[in-house]
């Protein structure tokens, strides 16, 4: 047992906690300030600091608004889209029907045995992330990641109730009184409302949305629906309302993976130190223009940052490359009459060239790299392959299981009977008649099923398979006396204009061949 005293003893951290500068060989000569987490810091945990990011307007902010609107709309609206699939299948455009083991996505219907399509989509999503990373760095983190979108949403709620950056910081520090309780109560109820909507929308992907929504509010939905909503409401409230950038910095594996994927040719948000340093206020710079750079140390880039970092310390794990600091800095530069782009999207290589005196290269030129086209090629190839497989798959399937106990049955007249369990799969959204025939059995061999008695035995049987279903049929095959057989094939043919076929080989057991 550890001495309880040890737990109280302040211990220095093994590594500076918030010093990511230089993690990737930062080009910033403005080295990160000496870590202030020294002997006085606690190695056990670091208390989260609330980030009160300032409102800002600009092209990147507007783009972020757009992405947020689109992604939220996709998330909340998709379950309500309808898609006509005829009377035998649900009419929800996107539906993960776990109970019936079907996955519907517009015109595509995936069965459990075709799960490789989903696996393929996931691999495509993975390669897609690589593709996006190699093209525009951590754009996913900055704009489209649900954590970013919901954090952004909650930060707007903060702003609506508590005012902008300074007002929020003041309120945070203010003692709890009726006014603060009222404000927090109102704000947190909006948090809960958003979280409930988020959790509520999630379950609609797994059942018919209007039905489930009605059942949910009349307390008739399944307990798992309420549990799921409760859990997702809780996580949304906690992760979006309070954890926020802590998720990106401490919990999410993606920034770690990103550090391995970014190189000096990747687009990142960078502070152009050769232009900005030496920092100094406008007044100081006015006195001695030669000694000071463009950065007037106004800290606007820090104020607007949703993760609360200082981009001027260089590339760091907390930077989600949302570009809000670019908006803030460009605005300041315009105000003081200096060219924009002190903080900008650029690659480290571009920065190096620029620092050496080369003319600025447009950021989009960073896209022209072989790696991007390689990823694009692999990604497109996979997509094309999946589409091809999807377009050419048959909607019928036959599997055969030969009875093994007993393997054969000798009948009174010397005929030999074998029994098989057939699985007929109909993947069309309509009932279909299918013919089961035998190939390779001697003439006179007949078959019948549980539904068709021996008197109606025939060389082939027509079986009605319900829409969207697999039908299990027990089939008896009878070989006339004095003939012999050891192997044959069942041939399934759909009796419609498609005429789809599936052939499955099996064995025929005889006395003496056991």
């Amino acid at each position: 047992m550890a001495d309880p005293k040890d737990l109280k003893r302040p211990a220095p951290p093994l590594a500076p906690t918030r010093d990511w500068a230089g993690a990737l060989g930062s080009a910033s000569p403005a080295a990160a300030p000496e870590s202030d987490v020294g002997l006085m810091g606690s190695a056990l945990y670091e208390k989260g600091k609330t980030v009160h990011n300032k409102r800002i307007d600009g092209p990147f902010r507007r783009f972020k608004w757009l992405v947020m609107l689109v992604t939220l709309a996709i998330y909340y609206v998709t379950p309500w889209l309808r898609w006509d699939r005829g009377p035998y299948a649900p009419d929800q455009a996107v539906l993960i029907d776990l109970a019936n083991r079907r996955f519907y996505m517009f015109d595509i219907e995936i069965w459990p045995h075709e799960f490789y399509f989903v696996a393929g989509l996931l691999i495509m999503a993975g390669i897609g992330l690589f593709l996006v990373t190699s093209a525009v760095g951590r754009a996913w983190c900055g704009y489209a990641c649900p954590q970013t979108v919901w954090t952004d949403l909650f930060q707007h709620v903060d702003r609506l109730f508590d005012g902008d950056r300074n007002a929020r910081a003041r309120l945070d520090k203010a003692p709890w009184g009726p006014a603060k309780i009222a404000r927090r109560g109102a704000k947190w109820s909006v948090y809960v409302a958003i979280s409930l909507l988020t959790g509520g929308a999630w379950i609609l992907y797994f059942a018919d949305a209007p039905t489930l929504a009605r059942a949910f509010f009349s307390a008739e939905a399944a307990p798992v629906a309420y549990a799921t909503v409760a859990i997702l409401t809780g996580t949304t409230f906690w992760l979006g309302g309070f954890m926020r950038e802590q998720v990106c910095i401490y919990m999410c594996p993606w920034p770690r993976i990103q550090t391995a994927m970014l190189d000096e040719k990747s687009l990142i948000v960078t502070y152009k130190d050769w232009r900005g340093e030496q920092r100094g206020s406008l007044k100081k710079a006015a006195k001695d223009p030669e000694a000071y750079g463009d950065c007037i140390d106004c800290l606007q880039c820090v104020a607007v940052c949703p993760t609360g970092i200082d981009i001027r310390e260089g590339q760091q794990i907390g930077c989600i490359t949302c570009g809000l600091c670019i908006d803030a800095c460009d605005k300041v530069m315009a105000d003081i009459g200096r060219p924009r782009g002190l903080i900008d999207y650029a690659t480290l290589d571009q920065c190096k060239a620029e620092a050496a005196g080369a003319p600025a290269t447009p950021a989009w030129k960073a896209l022209l790299r072989p790696r991007l086209f390689l990823y694009l090629g692999v990604w497109a190839l996979m997509g094309a392959g999946l589409l091809f497989a999807l377009g050419t798959r048959t909607h019928t399937d036959l599997t055969v299981e030969h009875d093994r106990n007993p393997p054969f049955m000798l009948l009174k007249d010397g005929s030999v009977r074998n029994a098989y369990t057939l699985r007929l799969r109909n993947m069309e959204s309509r009932p279909r008649a299918m013919e089961v025939a035998m190939a390779g059995m001697p003439a006179g061999t007949v078959m019948w099923t549980d539904a068709v008695s021996l008197e109606n035995a025939a060389p082939a049987q027509v079986i009605d398979v319900p829409a969207n279903a697999t039908k299990l049929v027990r089939v008896y095959v009878m070989l006339p006396p004095d003939k012999s057989a050891d192997a044959f094939a069942f041939r399934l043919t759909s009796l419609d204009e498609q005429g789809e076929q599936d052939v499955t080989e099996t064995t025929f057991a005889m006395p003496g061949t056991e």
Binding site: D6, L7, Y45, K412
Partner: protein, 308 residues
């Protein structure tokens, strides 16, 4: 011995021991970990009170909630039985020959019968219901039925058994032993005739004569057998005790008589009905002739008729 000191490069205290020059840094647990540990201790204390925990000589402490895994099983079993009650009652209320008329009910009966078969029947008839010829346990998959293969026949056999003395209405017949009645040539002739009925030997007039005098009464003039009397058909490819000349001879001289227990009283009527449905579904079940559905139970062969 204990010599705690601050390690220079990391600034962390050591645990104070030294092994061949190797020291260990003392890195305290994160606070959340410690709290989780305390929570686990509290949880276990509560658990010990509520649930079975301490092993005693022949059982464990019961726990104040009275929970047990056997209790859980009993509850689940009774819930499953309750869920099946509806189907059971329907099966009980349906005449067995009318079961095939409602495919869902028939399917339920077959499934229930398959489960009951595994418990009660496989010991003799085998897991695949194919029987064992060396012991004379009949195959239930084929289309040859000694005592009839309609649903009603099979149900009757299940209820009352075969040569089961404890059952009043059991199916009984005995084939006389011809040991000492036929001489060697006569036995050989009859064996030849019996085998010729299914095309396995050349017909011989002496055997035919003996057969019509001694055997045809039960087995029929052409050896077609009689389900009413439980006399097996001799003119087909299926043999209860084997179809070789030696096996047939043996059966003529000293017939063996298989016994099947009566299941009425051991199994409830619904299970027996479901077993009959399952056996009937194995591929050889016969359809009742239209007239036979109306047949009264009294007309079914019973002990009184066949005994003697």
């Amino acid at each position: 011995m204990v010599n705690r000191r601050i390690d220079e490069p990391t600034g962390t205290e050591t645990v104070g021991h030294e092994w061949d020059g190797i020291e260990e840094l003392n890195t305290p647990l994160p606070r959340w970990w410690l709290y989780t540990f305390y929570a686990c201790i509290v949880f276990s204390a509560v658990y010990v009170v509520l649930y079975p925990a301490w092993p005693l000589i022949d059982k464990a402490t019961a726990g104040t909630l009275g929970w047990s895994s056997r209790g859980d099983l009993a509850k689940e079993m009774s819930a499953a039985n309750m869920a099946r009650q509806g189907v059971f009652q329907q099966i009980a209320a349906t005449d067995i020959e009318k079961l095939p008329g409602s495919p869902d009910l028939m399917q339920a009966a077959i499934s229930g019968g398959a489960a009951a078969f595994k418990v009660n029947c496989v010991q003799c008839h085998g897991a695949g219901a194919a029987g064992y010829q060396e012991f004379g346990y009949p195959n239930l998959n084929d289309d040859d039925w000694i005592w009839g293969g309609t649903l009603t026949d099979i149900e009757y056999t299940l209820q009352h058994g075969i040569r089961w003395d404890a059952a009043e209405q059991t199916r009984v017949n005995y084939m006389p032993a011809f040991e000492g009645v036929f001489d060697k040539a006569q036995v050989s002739a009859v064996t030849g005739h019996v085998l010729s009925l299914s095309g396995k030997a050349q017909p011989n007039p002496a055997g035919a004569q003996l057969f019509s005098e001694n055997c045809a009464a039960c087995h029929g003039p052409a050896g077609g057998g009689s389900p009413e009397l439980g006399a097996p058909a001799l003119n087909d490819a299926i043999w209860l005790y084997g179809g070789t000349a030696a096996a047939v001879t043996k059966q003529i001289l000293a017939p063996r008589h298989g016994v099947m227990p009566a299941w009425s009283g051991r199994l409830d009527p619904v299970t027996i009905k479901m077993l009959a449905a399952y056996v009937h579904s194995r591929g050889g079940g016969q359809k009742a002739a239209p007239a036979q559905i109306e047949t009264d139970v009294a007309q079914t062969p019973d002990k009184a008729k066949t005994d003697g």
